[in-house]
């Protein structure tokens, strides 16, 4: 069968599968098994089926090899000094051809099964919903068509989603085990991943997870979120580079996206630093501390004083006000690199707008109000006004 034929046949089976789905409306993700985690995407059943086929072939061959091995060793056991058997065959051409040909047929079969389910993974449907993903050491940023940005991935249920993947530094790889999806993210080119999940998970609680927790804890409410990992080694924070995927029904997803794009707009300018600041800092704290600890980048503690005691960067580097310095460092990090630190910070251009940068500046000015561990407002301050209770 030619490749075109296969693809056509495959498309036909796809369509009939979709029709079947429309009628029955599968109600649940496939539950976890001994080998596989929950299967929640439209491709997961195909992948799991392929895996089952291979597993059974493996069980049979493994049993065959081990049983024969043990049987022969026991049956033909030799004690030192006994006479050797001489009635053995040295070769048997028909047998040897048989055991070369049978594995050949089997692996061709496995290849075909794997190839067919691979096409499902590879080819995104035309009507897919695009989400832009930026991976950088060691954070994810998901950008939605209306301008909303989030750290966890939110997707609409029942609709194919295509992720447009981009890295701003080194190789990363996006992996969602429950969806059976993985794709490397290569700096300097776009790569894509797609999937469709039909089962809403619910939304997480309003309080973000503790970014400084020693252990990556689960979602804080009952939402059955799926985990998203980075699977291409990318340095210090590689194992912390995991977030959650929330699947929302079509209506709540639209609402969520609108709220998310406007979350800062509703905050008055003077409240930005304590309402938006801690949330933004959560993305900075992999490299910058609040307590003076030297990290991948300089600590924010005393940063304003250091900048004002001009110049904190190398000879001949000029900058205007301290606000200018911080702003430039966020948008064009390579411009002023503080000596002894590497030029490793990715640019946040397009991810943090002017209002967000204002929030960061305000946050830096009022650092003493925030807990140095969590980055959140200390208990003695009122979360509504930012003033001492």
């Amino acid at each position: 069968m030619s490749m075109t034929h296969q693809i056509l046949a495959h498309t036909a089976s796809q369509i009939s599968a979709l029709a079947a789905f429309a009628q029955t409306g599968a109600a649940e993700p496939t539950p976890p098994t001994f080998w596989m985690p929950v299967g929640a995407s439209t491709i997961s059943q195909g992948v799991d089926h392929t895996l089952d086929v291979i597993n059974w072939i493996c069980y049979v061959f493994f049993a065959l090899v081990v049983v024969l091995m043990v049987w022969f060793v026991v049956k033909y056991r030799h004690r030192t000094g006994d006479k050797f058997r001489t009635d053995y065959p040295t070769h048997n051409t028909p047998l040897e051809i048989t055991w070369s040909v049978i594995p050949t047929i089997i692996v061709i079969g496995i290849f075909v099964v794997g190839f067919r389910s691979y096409l499902d993974i590879y080819t995104a449907p035309k009507n897919a919903f695009d989400i832009k993903v930026t991976a950088q050491k060691w954070a994810w940023s998901f950008q939605y068509p209306n301008g909303a940005v989030s750290d966890d991935l939110y997707i609409p249920a029942g609709r194919p989603v295509r992720l447009v993947l981009r890295s701003s530094d080194v190789l990363h790889s996006l992996y969602i085990p429950d969806f059976r999806v993985k794709r490397d993210i290569v700096p300097g080119r776009y790569t894509y991943a797609w999937f469709q999940c039909d089962f809403p998970t619910g939304q997480p609680g309003k309080t973000p997870r503790d970014p400084n927790a020693k252990v990556v804890s689960g979602p804080e409410d009952d939402a059955q979120a799926h985990t998203l990992f980075c699977t291409e080694y990318c340095g210090t924070g590689h194992s912390k580079m995991n977030r959650y995927v929330y699947v929302l029904d079509e209506a709540s997803f639209g609402q969520w996206m609108t709220d998310q794009s406007q979350w800062m707009d509703k905050i008055p300018e003077e409240e930005l630093y304590f309402k938006a600041g801690p949330k933004i800092f959560a993305r900075c704290q992999q490299c910058h501390s609040l307590d003076g600890t030297v990290g991948i980048g300089p600590s924010w503690k005393g940063i304003i004083e250091r900048v004002k005691a001009y110049p904190i960067v190398g000879d001949g580097k000029e900058y205007g006000t301290w606000e200018d310095y911080i702003r430039t460092s966020i948008l064009v990090p390579g411009k002023y690199v503080v000596p002894t630190y590497g030029n490793v910070m990715p640019s946040f251009k397009g991810q943090l707008n002017d209002k967000a940068i204002d929030a960061v500046l305000g946050y830096m000015q009022q650092l003493e109000k925030f807990d140095t561990k969590t980055g959140k407002l200390k208990a003695e301050f009122d979360p509504a006004t930012g003033m001492k209770k």
Binding site: P32, P37, V47, T50, L51, I54, C58, F61, F62, V65, V66, L68, M69, F72, V73, Y76, H78, G81, D82, F84, R85, T86, Y88, T90, H91, E96, W99, P103, V107, F111, G114, F115, R116, Y118, L119, D120, I121, Y122, V170, L171, D178, K182, D184, V186, P187, G188, K214, V216, T227, C230, T231, E232, Y233, C234, G235, T236, H238, S239, K240, V344
Partner: protein, 576 residues
């Protein structure tokens, strides 16, 4: 035809060509300089062996540190992810470049290959010594790299991480891998020429022991593939120092190009590791079954087939890299073809046990472990060659488990089996076989506890190279770590049994297992120049002329009934 009848080893005369019969390569000359400047293949092999085992101890220590760290999510014994990253990088780099690649060819191959050929030495003894000192230079550079701040790139050195990381030891370790590559190339070159030119009269290609076929196939890969690694590493060094931009996307370079270059070597390198081990297993199984190996030609051809296929499957490491779907499909299809010669070998080994006379010696236990572990390692390769399942399993612990079954469970277990097989020949001492066998069992159990668990861990979604992990994975990690401690106990017992042979081991006979190939016809340990006279080459898998001799405590080859030796005698050989 006149043939030279060797005296049976038990009845060696007191002197051979004027030298005392007790003279052997270990006692022939004395003093440290006689080792440092030796050109004797056996001494070079022994130096390789101790060096590789030393590196194995170091790499194993890092493995235990890693497993201990992973006992709990978050910090366990180090609170720095960077330290953990350096550990796994060191573990991988040491085990691949300093241990497994040189272990069988350079250590055991050097000692055994010329004797198996009935030769006095390899073709180029000076090149042989040079390649050993290149290995030493590589090892020293690894230590230098540690002193300069270590490296955290992973043993794969993927760009752009490896060209931008601030760790100070990256260039020294790249240089180390480059130098070690040349050590490997020279060893391979030496063996190719030796096998072509120094085979004795009568040893046609299809009369070579299968270990020689395996080493020969390996040597071809070493010579053809390793230069690509050399060039790639040089480019990486240049990229890191003067930023030429060949791999750097911000200068128009391509990080995926690096992956192609790297795997073009490193996939064949997997077969540099496994093929020699397969050769050892063929020897051990045939000799301990005391019968002709089943399907000799098919095993020999499958070694060459594996060497050939090894060059055209590298893209299966890159199914998720953004490589085109067509390329992925082709590489997937070709990768499956490696399964066939591998399966054929396993079936032939099993068939060799059939109607054999199976002696359960310590080396044989290792060979049986190999069969068990290699079958798992090989079969799980199917999951990874299959496109759709590989997407899910790539870069998870499933891959980690798979390649440990192949590289450790097969290549390294084969190496340890070979060490036990030839130890009496190399040092002239028998080790405690009971202890050796118990140790083999403990390693086998520990290995499966450690790595089988990792298949589940990976298919459940645990990515590799993670310092921290989700609490739901902890059960698997704890079991895996316990397994690694069991293995550590097993290897300690192995070391006790082998080193114990120097203190209370009884003197080894020339032929303790009943082998027929030429190395069993010279004394244990071999004399300085191996054979006083060119030995007669028989059929190395015809064991009908091998007899147990209680007086020797070993086996004796009696060819007087062989029509090739004594035309008057009626052949009692099993018909071919």
């Amino acid at each position: 035809m006149t043939t030279i009848q060797l005296p049976s080893p038990g009845a060696l005369p007191d002197t051979i060509e004027g030298r005392p019969a007790s003279d052997n390569y270990l006692t022939h000359t004395r003093g440290i300089l006689s080792w440092i400047f030796t050109l004797d293949h056996k001494r070079i092999g022994v130096m390789y062996m101790w060096s590789v085992l030393g590196a194995f101890l170091l790499g194993g220590t890092f493995a235990l540190l890693l497993r201990t760290e992973l006992l709990t999510p978050g910090p366990t014994i180090t609170d720095s992810a960077d330290t953990y990253n350096q550990w796994f990088t060191l573990h991988g780099a040491i085990m691949v470049f300093l241990v497994i690649i040189p272990s069988i060819p350079a250590a055991l191959g050097n000692i055994i290959l010329p004797i198996m050929l009935g030769a006095k030495d390899v073709a180029f003894p000076r090149l042989n010594l040079f390649s050993y000192y290149l290995w030493v230079t590589g090892a020293v550079l690894c230590v230098v790299s540690l002193a300069m701040g270590g490296f955290d790139t992973g043993w794969t050195f993927y760009t752009p991480y490896s060209t931008t990381t601030t760790a100070g030891g990256v260039i020294p370790v790249l240089t180390a891998a480059f130098v070690l590559g040349f050590s490997s190339i020279f060893t391979g070159l030496n063996f190719i020429v030796t096998v072509h030119k120094l085979r004795p009269p009568g040893m046609t290609w299809f009369r070579m022991p299968l270990f020689l076929w395996a080493i020969y196939a390996t040597a071809i890969i070493q010579v053809l593939a390793t230069p690509v690694l050399g060039i790639t590493l040089l480019l990486l060094i240049v990229e890191r120092t003067v930023n030429i931009g060949i791999f750097n996307p911000s200068m128009g370079g391509d990080p995926v190009l690096y992956q192609h270059f790297f795997w073009f070597y490193s996939h064949p390198a997997v077969y540099i590791m496994i093929l020699p081990a397969m050769g050892i297993i063929s020897e051990i199984i045939a000799i301990n079954s005391h019968r002709a190996i089943f399907g000799y030609r098919l095993i020999a051809f499958s070694s060459i087939a594996i060497a050939f296929f090894s060059f055209i499957v590298w893209g299966h490491h890159m199914f998720t890299s953004g490589q085109s779907a067509l390329m992925n499909t082709l590489f997937s299809a070709i990768s499956f073809s490696v399964a066939i010669p591998s399966a054929v070998k396993v079936f032939n080994w099993i068939a060799t046990l059939y109607k054999g006379s199976v002696s359960l010696t310590t080396p044989m236990w290792y060979a049986l472990s190999f069969l068990f572990l290699f079958t798992i390692g090989g079969l799980t390769g199917l999951h990874l060659a299959t496109l759709s399942t590989d997407v899910h399993l790539h870069d998870t612990y499933f891959v980690v488990a798979h390649f440990h079954y192949v590289m450790m469970g097969s290549a390294l277990i084969g190496m340890i089996g070979g060490l036990h097989h030839w130890w009496p020949k190399i040092f002239g001492r028998m080790y405690d076989e009971r202890l050796g066998t118990i140790a083999c069992w403990i390693i086998f159990i520990g290995f499966n506890v450690t790595f089988f668990t990792q298949f589940m861990l990976g298919s459940q979604g645990m990515p590799r190279r993670y310092y921290d992990y989700q609490p739901e994975f902890q059960v698997y990690h704890v079991i895996s770590t316990i397994g690694s401690y069991i293995m550590a106990v097993g290897f300690t017992l192995t070391a006790i049994s082998l080193f114990g042979s120097f203190f209370n081991g009884k003197k080894a006979p020339a032929n303790p297992w009943g082998g027929r190939s030429l190395e069993w016809q010279c004394a244990s340990p071999p004399p300085f120049d191996n054979f006083a006279k060119a030995p007669r080459v028989g059929d190395c898998y015809d064991f009908s002329v091998v007899h147990w001799d209680p007086k020797l405590g070993g086996y004796r080859v009696d060819e007087s009934n062989d029509p090739e030796v004594n035309p008057a005698a009626q052949g009692t050989k099993a018909a071919h």
